[in-house]
């Protein structure tokens, strides 16, 4: 299978003063294009991309696992202090599109001058009055309303694991990049971390608009909860019409209580329901519970660690995690006519 973006050349222009949270989005977008076969030149600022030293670090050689993940299948060039001249020289060649970052005035000017198809990755929405306060991936989650949705009602709001303040913007930037390539003279695109996150969290806005009241985190008052089981944890997730199926699975007569007949009442009495569900889960393993639930079409989910994914039968069968130079590396989450695109290690070219 020939990779679909073969023959396309894309610049990832890493700015000299870009905050980490923006860089993670830029590099993710470019990585996806690179794994799809585009020739991606990653232009690092003098001194290199700060992600090279950002945790998690690999115990053997101290390299950053984050950097390895975000920069597969690219070629990297570290630009000299005079970025303008080096960048100008690169732009004289055939470049189909470029990703660049807010605040990189050199790249912005040169790309505009040459009218290169381009996507800018920024922190705040353009509509937000200046000056824009500093951002972190964590404050992006706060601004997009996602922090408010996770955790216990009366406790500190919780972030999701990983870099979810950045990655939705990275995916959006990839799609905007594809739109740039799809036709001639597409206007330049701009993606902001805050907008991408808010867009992902649309149900909070939809709920607030429909009900005049924001949905919010309700942790152990929620219908979906994570509970301990014999060998770990299980997420009890099911459809609003599936309570009877759940009751049949657990087969405890207390769940047939007529007080649990309607959803509003079940929500009110959720603690009593979980008092029945928890002991049942506690004596069974994740695999037993998951299997029994799936057999009834109930979408409970076993809590699986990133390490366990490496040997997960479904992941193994689909070849989702591949060996890349001794590292366990996820491939792009798509099979293209049945083929997965294995990522390859970053190639370091000499500086220019």
């Amino acid at each position: 299978m020939t990779r679909p973006l073969l023959g396309i050349t894309i610049l990832e222009i890493d700015g000299p003063h870009t905050p980490l949270c923006i860089r993670l989005a830029t590099s993710l977008a470019a990585k996806i294009a690179a794994d799809l076969g585009a020739r991606v030149l990653k232009l690092e600022p003098p001194g290199g991309d700060m992600v090279r030293t950002t945790p998690p670090l690999l115990p053997a050689d101290g390299r950053s696992a984050l950097f390895q993940f975000l920069n597969t299948s690219k070629r990297s060039i570290t630009l000299p202090t005079d970025r303008r001249a080096a960048l100008d020289a690169l732009l004289a060649g055939r470049i189909d599109a470029a990703l660049y970052e807010e605040g990189d005035v050199v790249a912005a000017a040169l790309l505009a001058e040459r009218n290169v198809a381009r996507v800018e990755i920024a922190g705040w929405p353009e509509s937000m009055p200046q000056p824009h306060p500093p951002l972190s991936g964590f404050t992006v989650l706060a601004l997009g309303g996602l922090l408010d949705m996770v955790g216990e009602a009366h406790r500190e709001p919780l972030r999701l694991g990983g870099h979810q303040g950045s990655y939705p913007a990275g995916l959006a930037a990839f799609t905007a990049l594809m739109a740039q390539l799809a036709a001639k003279n597409v206007p330049p695109a701009r993606v902001s971390l805050v907008e991408a996150l808010l867009w992902v969290n649309w149900k909070a806005a939809a709920g607030a608009h429909a009900d005049g009241k924001a949905p919010t985190r309700d942790g152990t008052r929620s219908e979906f909860q994570v509970v301990p089981c014999a060998d770990g944890h299980i997420a009890l997730v099911y459809g609003v019409t599936q309570f009877d199926a759940v009751a049949a699975l657990i087969a405890d007569p207390r769940l047939n209580d007529p007080r649990f007949a309607t959803r509003p009442e079940r929500r009110r009495l959720i603690t009593e329901i979980y008092d029945v569900l928890k002991p049942w889960c506690a004596t069974r393993t994740r695999a037993e519970i998951y299997k029994a639930a799936q057999a009834r079409g109930i979408p409970f989910g076993a809590i699986v660690t990133p390490f366990e994914l490496i040997s997960d039968p479904q992941m193994v069968d689909r070849g989702f995690i591949v060996d890349m130079d001794g590292l366990k590396m996820p491939r792009l989450p798509v099979l293209w006519n049945g083929t997965g695109f294995a990522p390859s290690p970053l190639i370091e070219e000499a500086g220019r």
Partner: protein, 384 residues
């Protein structure tokens, strides 16, 4: 110039993951024809039911959020004539998007082989929980299931109780990110099909996307035995000196990231050596945030859904307000000089059936009347 003008999409997308992939293509200029029927509606029409008066299935807010800028056609796939018309429509389409249960498309004779036989250039985006292959291909999931089975929940939770956490039913995070990637993959496949004359089957696993969103943790866990059983660490993050939320006098929370020792010193200067928790507890959230920001620190008031609809500068183009006060999804990016325009509100069930079949297949009044009489184009829900 709309990047996807001239591209036509046959949309079987349901709920968020599927329907929103097509909606993103529509926003970029594609002509998206959403196929439902009285026998099988997008479940978002039911999930978001607000009343029981006739036509309730056209009033779900969730459905309106994810299906604007599409036309709506009712064609019953359980009817042979419905299936024949789908294949006729596929001849003139570039893309088909579907996220049915695995096996449904095959059962209707509309799988990739059948579509490819009538149109070799067609791109089929097949979005499913686990992917088209593998021992778990038939397993069901909701977004929050994939928080668990994709690996993110194991990295989410308070440090003290150690309980893994999921994003929950009002977020279902893994469902929301699918379309951001899937729509880009579809565009790449369409460009390739134009160049080579050959379409593609894109087998997109939502669980794989959920795991991809924590890709670096898989790399790290594979190389470092110490990371095999990750502890929950609240809002703290490796490599960040201090990161958490503080409650202010007004009861609101402020999220603060202190990246390193420099940020910690700056924070001490702002708070006159008080710890941040006490300092925040003595002032309002907006004041605290403004002072921390002025000193160059990353701090933000934790927004909730009401804030998101109130603060229109913050929402940017991600929410689109309709002239009648309605609210629907906007776009996650903007193109210079091209304001977001919602050209069509989400279609009523079967709203554009006749005009679409006339335009795309050249059917006349007699043919349309016959289809209606057979029930092929019925737009009355058969059951709730």
């Amino acid at each position: 110039m709309k990047p996807l003008s001239g591209i036509r999409v046959l949309d079987f997308g349901l709920l968020t993951a599927g329907a929103n992939t097509s909606a993103m293509l529509a926003d970029l200029g594609a002509d998206v024809v959403k196929i439902e029927s009285g026998a099988y509606m997008d479940p978002f029409r039911t999930v978001g039911q607000r009343d029981t008066a006739p036509g309730w299935w056209n009033r779900s807010p969730q459905f309106h959020f994810t299906n604007r800028n599409k036309r709506g056609v009712a064609l019953n796939l359980k009817h042979a004539e419905g299936r024949r018309l789908i294949l006729e429509l596929a001849k003139g389409c570039d893309v088909v998007v579907e996220n049915f249960r695995r096996g449904v498309l095959e059962r209707f004779g509309l799988d990739y082989a059948a579509l490819k036989a009538v149109n070799p250039r067609i791109v089929l985006a097949s979005i499913s929980s686990q992917g088209d292959t593998g021992p778990n291909r038939l397993h069901a999931s909701y977004g929050s299931t994939l928080d668990a089975t994709g690996g993110m929940a194991a990295l989410t939770g308070y440090a003290d109780d150690g309980l893994p956490r999921i994003s929950g039913m009002d977020v279902n995070y893994p469902d929301q990110v699918v379309s951001l990637l899937a729509s880009g993959l579809v565009i790449a496949a369409v460009m390739n099909a134009r160049r080579t004359g050959e379409g593609a089957l894109l087998d997109i696993s939502q669980r794989e996307i959920a795991s991809f969103m924590i890709g670096e943790e898989i790399v790290a866990a594979g190389a470092d035995p110490k990371r095999r059983a990750p502890p929950r660490q609240g809002n703290a993050q490796d490599g960040i000196a201090s990161q958490r939320c503080y409650r202010c006098t007004d009861g609101r929370w402020v999220a603060v990231t202190l990246r390193d020792a420099n940020d910690e010193m700056t924070s001490k200067r702002v708070t006159a050596q008080m710890n941040l928790a006490e300092w925040c507890a003595a002032r309002g959230a907006s004041d605290a945030t403004a002072e921390l920001n002025a000193a160059g620190l990353a701090a933000a008031v934790v927004r909730d859904g009401m804030d998101l609809i109130r603060e229109r500068n913050l929402a940017g183009d991600t929410l689109a307000w309709l002239p009648d006060g309605g609210l629907v999804k906007g776009m996650p990016y903007r193109f210079a000089g091209v304001p977001l325009v919602v050209e069509r509100r989400a279609p009523d069930l079967g709203e554009h059936t006749n005009e679409t079949l006339r335009e795309l297949l050249g059917l006349d009044d007699d043919a349309l009347a016959k289809l209606a009489a057979l029930g092929v184009t019925s737009a009355e829900p058969e059951r709730i």
